[in-house]
Assembly symmetry: C2
Homo-oligomer: 260 residues x 2
């Protein structure tokens, strides 16, 4: 096995980025990690609020945003502009050399517009076809930290809305042939909980079989299922470790739930 | 004198980017230019319309936008997200390898928040301090086309709103020590007009002295004055040629007004 350099892919969700002070605290913990790293962010909460301010209705189906003509403009603005550039400006202030990118930039994330299935038309939503690991690693090797917005493109001139968890997993997978990758999903809970009401009931180590059992028994709830499915898929594709943890513990990756 | 490679810096204004079909036609002409190039875009018309939709008032003083807390979010969304990413996706579709950047990205454009002068507080507006020609030329030499949004940062974590004409001129100036730079200001008129009402009255060649005379006599109007002042400053800093032309003539730079 080659002796590969370590690389951290951290995904932070919409609730963290929504608030300037929680965002800053998270970024300080992210910046404190030495070495090669990539940040993937969400922004759904803010997109919903900007959409509301502009009189654009938000419709979610199974936790996913229906992205019509007006909504793709809103998420392009919020994810690609407001959230992404705000993060980059803060990271630069912390001394990191960061670059904010969406999938169209340098063609780094190409996707396919999701077809209408079972009568559900998600609109301008893209399923990732490929992540350009070469372009990303060129930036990383130049000492740059890519900050990825949850937007891809179809190669035909359209921006597509793509789930940030999926982008993080696909990015980690694509980089796994070049780096020793740790993928971190960072959110408001301490990890995967045995009892959703008890933040102390973190499952420290989770195997695929146990995940399937907990899913079957209903312990692992709906929002967590796609996140964990993505994460196990990444693990099977060569990502060394996946950690699900809270923003507060981003500086200590021994905490949280470790997928194995 | 060194034999330098040619590089084109093209600035397109808000009225061109506002409309998808005029934007696409302009980008096709831009893409047709072989060789090294940088695109700088505006987006003011769209920012005003998004601001209105969100209930944020727009106040302009001498053609410049007062940029309060809410307005900086609007322009960050519109310039850095909607307009910038839309352009990048279209250029990628045309086979160009483009990357959309604001000044915070890789710290390429650092600026100073404009102080309150004569009682006018422009808010989150930045005056360019330096453009990182090394970072830009590294991208250009890698075959990438930088697409610059009219946003800079102060190095303290804040995005600042900066005039796109100024960004184009400062970018051209900073690159003039490395390249044989032509700066093109592309807008809806055919060039600098002797008679504003006659689109055929283009001044083919304009010298600084003539500009000063036409400014004094009032032939060159208010909006054109800062554009031309910026352009002459760029020329004096080593930019080889400045062309003021229409979008329709972007593919033939022998047209329009040439500054000398």
């Amino acid at each position: 096995m080659r002796n590969m350099e370590k690389l951290l892919v951290v995904k932070v969700g919409g609730k963290v980025v929504e608030n300037a002070s929680s965002l800053q605290a998270m970024l300080a913990r992210f910046a404190a990690h030495e070495g090669r790293k990539v940040l993937v962010h969400g922004g759904g909460v803010m997109a919903t609020s900007v959409a509301r301010a502009m009189g654009v209705d938000t419709t979610m189906v199974e936790g996913r945003r229906i992205t019509g003509d007006k909504m793709i403009d809103v998420v392009t603005m919020v994810y690609g502009g407001l959230v992404n550039k705000r993060i980059v400006a803060m990271l630069e202030c912390m001394g990191l050399n960061a670059v904010g990118l969406c999938g169209a930039d340098m063609n780094i994330m190409l996707s396919t517009k999701r077809p209408v299935v079972d009568g559900i038309d998600y609109g301008w939503v893209g399923d990732v076809k490929r992540v350009d690991a070469h372009a990303l690693s060129t930036l990383v090797e130049a000492g740059v930290v890519p900050v990825l917005a949850p937007l891809t493109h179809d190669g035909k001139g359209h921006i597509l809305n793509t789930n940030a968890d999926t982008i993080a997993a696909e990015t980690a997978r694509s980089l796994a042939s070049r780096y020793d990758v740790t993928l971190v999903y960072c959110f408001e809970k301490n990890g995967v909980l045995l009892d959703p009401g008890d933040d102390g009931s973190v499952i420290a180590s989770l195997q695929l079989r146990q995940f399937q059992e907990l899913k079957a028994s209903g312990v692992i709830n709906q929002g967590m299922i796609p996140k964990l499915s993505n994460a196990f898929k990444a693990l099977q594709s060569g990502v060394r470790e996946v950690v699900i943890t809270s923003v507060a513990h981003l500086d200590d990756l021994s905490q949280g739930t470790h997928l194995q």
